[in-house]
């Protein structure tokens, strides 16, 4: 009955298809001209790109694992002063994108930088520069990305720890395990899928990271793509590197998907769930737990925040000529437009999937949500490639006016690529809301005389209210921090906080980057505080 070809099916098919286009573009351009790609590999810094990308990846994964799992373990299992505060304060690190962290790190430790000023004010004049460590290059990059992204691991590991059955831990005690052994043999293995999922997200973001990598002048695959495009104006070469990076990422994506499937399986075993009594810590143990969380919170959030605040106050002249209201309005304009488009299409597509239940549609949606795994740089360039091809070979052949201007360097183009990039966030967010609605709810609605559209509007939309709100905030947070897509595709003279900060920093005017960075951190923090109760769900909702 329900399995019939309908408008819902058609629209979800189209939506998924649009999202898949850039991926297809990258793959097809790789095979366009295969004669000389070995040449290109040999001649260029390709091996250096790969080596740097791998080093970066390993460094960041190691550090985020230690920070994320460590903090999640402490706040989930122990009670100490400030534990409830750190529980959500640690996710504030999301408000600081890696590139802003990089600016802060550099600004603090540079010659005559903030560290120097502090030492001078405390101990008087002196030649402190040679004693201040320098955090730049690969090491600075690893730190910047890790402090900004460890929260992915923290959130997923923590939710897994929370759902761990108390009886499992009691079993460890029964077997006479020490705390250390319990952690290694019981707690960690059973949280493994969640931790792997968190690390995979970190890995994808790391490979996609553009701003911080560019700032520290480390050549990775991502910056290689950008440079091929911007410096050599070589779209074909950019696409070629993209292809390699995509293969890299697809492997990660598969790993993540497989482990997530396990994670779901893991959570379904709710039978033995008992609310855990946290262990109360005293004395030095309590102090260490507090210090670990505090230092992490300080380094990941307070440090970049205060550095940017310090510079804003120290160099007030940067406020002049900076149209903060314009930047805010531009940012909010992009955020609201993209959210509207994403939410609308994600809802339609999810409902289409639900009522038509076709295999091809399922496959296409799975493919379409892989957009999130593809770095913004690749998406933006693939988009330009596709529009250029489409314009040349179809529009012009048919004798129409060029459409390039409509899509490249326009808000429309920007929203389309944001759409592709963040579609999986919106789709999955709505999907997880939908998964909680039993199919018999739809059937009951039909049986009470509701048509399909009425069921969607009157029954589903009100139910999904919270999911929609959550998704809007997630998308907003991503778009506020987003850099490469905005940078490549924005209209002339259209700036956001992120692009203003990046442009100032790349012109070596780091102080001028402080104001937009500070604004960005503040707005993002506001959004995070708003969603923290969803991200940190404690009960069995």
């Amino acid at each position: 009955m329900i399995k019939k070809f309908n408008i819902w099916y058609l629209s979800s098919f189209l939506i998924s298809f649009i999202v898949v286009i850039p991926i297809i573009t990258v793959f097809t351009s790789f095979f366009e001209d295969t004669s000389n790609y070995f040449e290109i590999l040999k001649k260029t810094f390709f091996l250096e790109y790969v080596f740097n990308s791998l080093t970066l990846l390993i460094g960041v994964l190691f550090l985020t694992f230690i920070l994320g799992v460590g903090s999640a373990y402490i706040v989930s299992f122990y009670h100490f002063p400030g534990a409830n505060f750190f529980k959500w304060a640690l996710i504030l690190s999301f408000a600081v994108p890696p590139y802003i962290y990089a600016y802060s790190l550099f600004a603090f430790f540079e010659n005559y930088g903030t560290a120097f000023t502090i030492l001078k004010n405390v101990f008087g004049d002196g030649n402190y520069n040679k004693h201040i460590p320098k955090f730049d290059g690969m090491f600075g990059l690893i730190l910047s990305i890790s402090f900004s992204l460890f929260a992915y691991v923290y959130i997923l590991a923590r939710s897994s720890f929370l759902y761990q059955s108390q009886s499992l831990i009691e079993l460890g005690k029964n077997l006479g395990f020490s705390k250390f052994k319990s952690f290694y043999s019981i707690i960690l293995p059973s949280a493994r899928p969640a931790i792997v999922a968190g690390l995979s997200l970190v890995a994808m973001e790391t490979l996609a990271e553009f701003g911080a990598v560019d700032f520290f002048s480390v050549n990775t695959l991502t910056t290689g793509i950008y440079n091929a495009w911007i410096a050599f104006d070589d779209l074909a070469f950019a696409n070629r590197i993209s292809f390699f990076l995509l293969i890299f990422i697809f492997i990660l994506f598969l790993t993540e998907n497989l482990s997530r499937r396990k994670a779901k399986y893991h959570l379904e075993a709710k039978g033995g769930f008992k609310k855990k009594e946290k262990i109360k810590l005293y004395g030095s143990k309590s102090f260490f737990a507090f210090m670990f969380c505090f230092i992490l919170f300080f380094l990941s959030f307070l440090f970049p925040l205060s550095q940017m605040l310090y510079w804003t106050i120290k160099f007030p002249e940067n406020l002049n000529g900076l149209q903060i209201t314009d930047l805010l309005l531009n940012t909010l304009y992009l955020v609201s437009l993209s959210s509207l488009v994403l939410i609308t299409f994600a809802l339609i597509s999810n409902y289409g999937n639900r009522v038509s239940n076709k295999k091809i549609l399922n496959f296409l949606s799975t493919l379409s949500i892989s957009g999130y795994a593809i770095p913004g740089v690749i998406l933006a360039i693939a988009f330009i490639t596709f529009i250029a091809w489409f314009d040349e070979s179809i529009i012009k052949t048919l004798g129409f006016l060029s459409i390039k201007k409509i899509f490249i360097g326009s808000i429309l183009g920007l929203v389309v690529v944001y759409f592709v990039r963040f579609y999986s966030l919106a789709f999955n967010g709505i999907k997880s809301g939908y998964e909680k609605i039993n199919i018999s709810v739809d059937e009951s609605a039909y049986l009470l005389g509701y048509s399909k559209s009425k069921t969607f509007l009157n029954i589903h939309i009100p139910y999904l209210r919270n999911s929609i709100l959550f998704v809007i905030i997630l998308i907003s947070l991503e778009i506020i921090r987003e850099l490469p897509i905005t940078l490549i595709l924005r209209p002339f003279n259209f700036e956001t906080f992120a692009t203003t900060a990046y442009i100032s920093a790349s012109e070596d005017l780091l102080e001028a980057a402080a104001v937009p960075s500070l604004c960005l951190i503040v707005i993002a923090s506001f959004f995070i505080l708003f969603t923290s109760k969803y991200i940190l769900r404690d009960n069995n909702e």
């Binding site: 009955m1 329900i2 909680k436 609605i437 039993n438 018999s440 709810v441 059937e443 009951s444 609605a445 039909y446 049986l447 009470l448 005389g449 509701y450 048509s451 029954i459 009100p462 139910y463 209210r465």
Partner: protein, 353 residues
């Protein structure tokens, strides 16, 4: 011409490409009748209801309501256009609406033809859900959710109401009371209803007619009395757990002979030729205890069932026969003792296969 209110003709029911029940025909003659479909779980009872509601298609046969074809291999009217209400076995309440809002959502259906208005308050009172009206579905128990779902279906005043195990989650103590009230309400409101259940007593009480579904077939569709007393096949006997089948030879117009029990007399419900070998349905209440009798069998088990005992006796040819004895009976027999059976054995209706 005799026109039925509701009719299923030669329909085969499938779900996900798997045949569940084949070639089913039954009908509801009058508006307001209640019929029950009875069968073990997983047999396809729910599939039948879902197909009648329009949630599944049928490829053969037809389903007609008030003379109008709802489903056939060509036609399939959308569920929302059928005015058939289905109350699901599992909780299908709208989770983001309160109990009261859920019930009121059932009211939206326009029903011009109905004479009698259903009073929502009456339904709420009957189903005893007045106290939970402002609760959300996750705050109420499974039994309550089932009753709310029932109330919602009743409120929509459908032409045909389908109830899938409506009382399966209702407490035993409350179940009988609800059964009485439900029957009264459905009769008062003249709501034609098909109830699916695996509880034979519920089916016998509520249904004007009962259908027994076994082995992908509708085995018997008849009055509850007939289904109980005159099961038409060995499968139905086994499903209803009505007794045991023992070998016997027809010896006359009203008598049979069993090797161990001797002559058994009664009225055959079906004629058999003298000398035919048959299987006789023997129920626990068919045999009477008599200490004076010379037919003595060995007790192998004794079950205390409150108002009665059921003794299991072993015959010379190792048949195990159940016998009912009132629990106020003066003396009891222990396992391994001998137990006398009154002769000659008389059975009102002789059911043979």
């Amino acid at each position: 011409m005799n026109k039925n209110f509701f009719e299923v003709t030669n329909a085969s029911f499938k779900v996900g490409g798997i045949n569940k029940v084949n070639n089913v025909s039954f009908s509801i003659e009058k508006e307001g009748d209640i019929i029950c479909l009875l069968g073990p779980s997983g047999i396809g009872k729910t599939t039948i209801l879902r197909s009648i509601a329009g949630l599944e298609k049928i490829e053969t046969g037809s389903i007609k309501l008030k003379g109008k074809t709802l489903s056939s291999n060509k036609i399939s009217i959308e569920p929302e256009d059928r005015n058939i209400s289905l109350s699901f076995q599992e909780n299908s309440l709208f989770p983001h609406f309160t109990v009261e809002e859920n019930i009121n959502l059932g009211k939206i259906r326009k029903n011009p033809g109905k004479k009698k208005k259903i009073s929502i308050n009456k339904i709420i009172k009957l189903l005893n859900i007045g106290k939970i009206l402002d609760h959300y579905p996750h705050q109420i128990s499974a039994g309550e959710a089932q009753r709310v779902s029932l109330a919602r279906s009743l409120a929509s005043q459908p032409d045909l109401l389908l109830l899938d195990e409506p009382l399966s989650n209702v407490d035993q103590s409350f179940k009988e009371e609800i059964q009485v009230q439900l029957k009264k309400l459905l009769k008062d409101l003249k709501i034609t209803t098909i109830i699916v259940t695996h509880d034979s007593y519920e089916a016998f009480y509520l249904g004007t007619k009962c259908g027994i579904i076994l082995n992908k077939q509708l085995k018997q569709f008849d009055d509850p009395y007939n289904v109980y007393h005159f099961p038409n096949s060995i499968e139905v006997v086994n499903f209803l757990n009505r007794g045991i089948l023992i070998p016997a030879k027809v010896t006359g117009e009203d008598s049979l002979e069993n090797k161990d029990l001797g002559t058994i007399k009664g009225n055959f419900i079906k004629h058999y030729k003298k000398g035919t070998d048959v299987k006789l349905l023997l129920q626990p209440e068919d045999l009477e205890h008599d200490d004076q009798s010379n037919l003595k069998l060995e007790v192998v088990d004794r079950k205390f069932r409150g108002t009665n005992f059921i003794y299991t006796l072993k015959t010379n040819s190792n048949l195990l026969i159940p016998v009912f004895v009132h629990s106020h009976h003066i003396h009891q027999h222990e396992v391994d003792e001998k137990f006398g059976i009154k002769r000659p054995i008389n059975i009102d209706h002789i059911v043979c296969f």
